[in-house]
């Protein structure tokens, strides 16, 4: 019992820190709270889909910006997709970077776009690793027989 309590406390603290640091926003809350007994891994499933999709988008973006003649419409289309999916999972910082990225696409500034892409990759990697830790904690709670706290 005490063990579950410890894990739950850890979960609560970790989650609070993610919000505090702006890693996730209230859309993540909504996503997380769509879980229930019959769909206990829903948030993780969606976020995992996001990870796969993001990898594809980041590859496409890297490729598009490496071209001799960059097609900024193509780049913008990918950033738009990335902005959409990061918004849907509550990845606040990634989403905000995508918004800036789109402005750079409009300006057709290759150098700044490349730099922004680097930032996006870093921020995304941070989001991914933190969410993986969070889901790991959730698994531990469930395995120990406890319930995952609801985020409010």
């Amino acid at each position: 019992m005490a063990y579950v309590g410890q894990l739950q406390r850890k979960f609560v603290e970790y989650t609070k820190s993610l919000y505090r640091e702006g890693i996730v926003d209230k859309q993540f809350t909504q996503l997380h709270n769509l879980q229930d007994e019959s769909n206990p891994d829903f948030a993780e499933e969606v976020v995992t889909l996001f990870f796969t999709d993001s990898q594809r988008l980041l590859n496409e973006l890297t490729n598009a910006l490496e071209q001799q003649d960059v097609d900024f419409n193509t780049v913008d289309a990918y950033v738009h997709q990335f902005k959409g999916s990061s918004s849907s999972v509550g990845a606040q910082r990634v989403k905000d970077l995508c918004i800036s990225f789109r402005t750079l696409c409009e300006q057709q500034n290759k150098e700044l776009c490349l730099r922004c892409l680097q930032q996006v990759k870093l921020e995304y990697a941070s989001f991914k690793s933190k969410l993986e830790s969070l889901f790991q904690l959730e698994k531990q709670i469930v395995e120990a027989g406890g319930t995952i706290p609801t985020i409010d």
Partner: protein, 192 residues
């Protein structure tokens, strides 16, 4: 937020069937969940072409007159999609004599006045700014199920299934279940 208590007692006999169209796999999964929590049957497809195929409007086969269990009560489509976008899909649906009565809702991450205006003018019931909320889905569902409230007060199990076919023949003033709203309002819905 507990999901218990959201199940309507009328669900067993006539679940609303919603067709969700979105090229984003993340958004499809998310909207599907919102709809399932709201006790709707969901078919999620990735493009306008697939949506039309599902609706029987792919030009290769004629839509059958009988109920085949695939009747759609609401279409929720993303606006920005490669190939056929949400607006073009909306147009095709409204141009079809068999499908035009099905309410169509547009979802978009961009709350642009001209876009909202164009969609509403073309016949969209509502423009929802993404990310879609559970409250958006609940609101849509309430509007759709209110549509046949006047017909069966005694036994909800006897009420007519909500389908495009029924919507067309049931009401006198407007065939849209959204007649309660001024759906020609051009005010873009602000994200709450």
């Amino acid at each position: 937020m507990s999901t218990a208590g959201l199940v309507s007692r009328r669900d067993c006999s006539h679940q609303l069937h919603v067709l969700a169209v979105d090229d984003s796999v993340v958004d499809r999964k998310f909207v599907e969940r919102l709809l399932k929590i709201s006790s709707c049957k969901v078919t999620a497809v990735e493009s306008g072409i697939r949506a039309l195929q599902f609706l029987g409007l792919d030009g290769e086969k004629k839509e059958t007159a009988g109920f085949d269990g695939l009747k759609v009560n609401l279409i929720m489509t993303d606006y920005s999609m490669p190939g056929m976008n949400g607006f073009e899909l909306l147009k095709k649906i409204k141009e079809s004599s068999t499908l035009k009565e099905i309410p169509v809702v547009i979802m978009s991450s961009e709350n642009i006045l001209t876009r909202v205006d164009r969609c509403l003018e073309e016949g969209a019931e509502e423009f929802i700014v993404k990310p879609v909320k559970l409250s958006d889905v609940k609101r849509l569902k309430n509007i759709l199920t209110k549509g046949d409230k006047g017909q069966n007060e005694e036994d909800p199990l006897l009420s007519l299934p909500l389908s495009s076919h029924d919507l067309a023949s049931s009401s006198t003033s407007s065939s849209s279940p959204f007649k309660f709203l001024d759906h020609r309002s051009k005010r873009p819905r602000l994200q709450g």
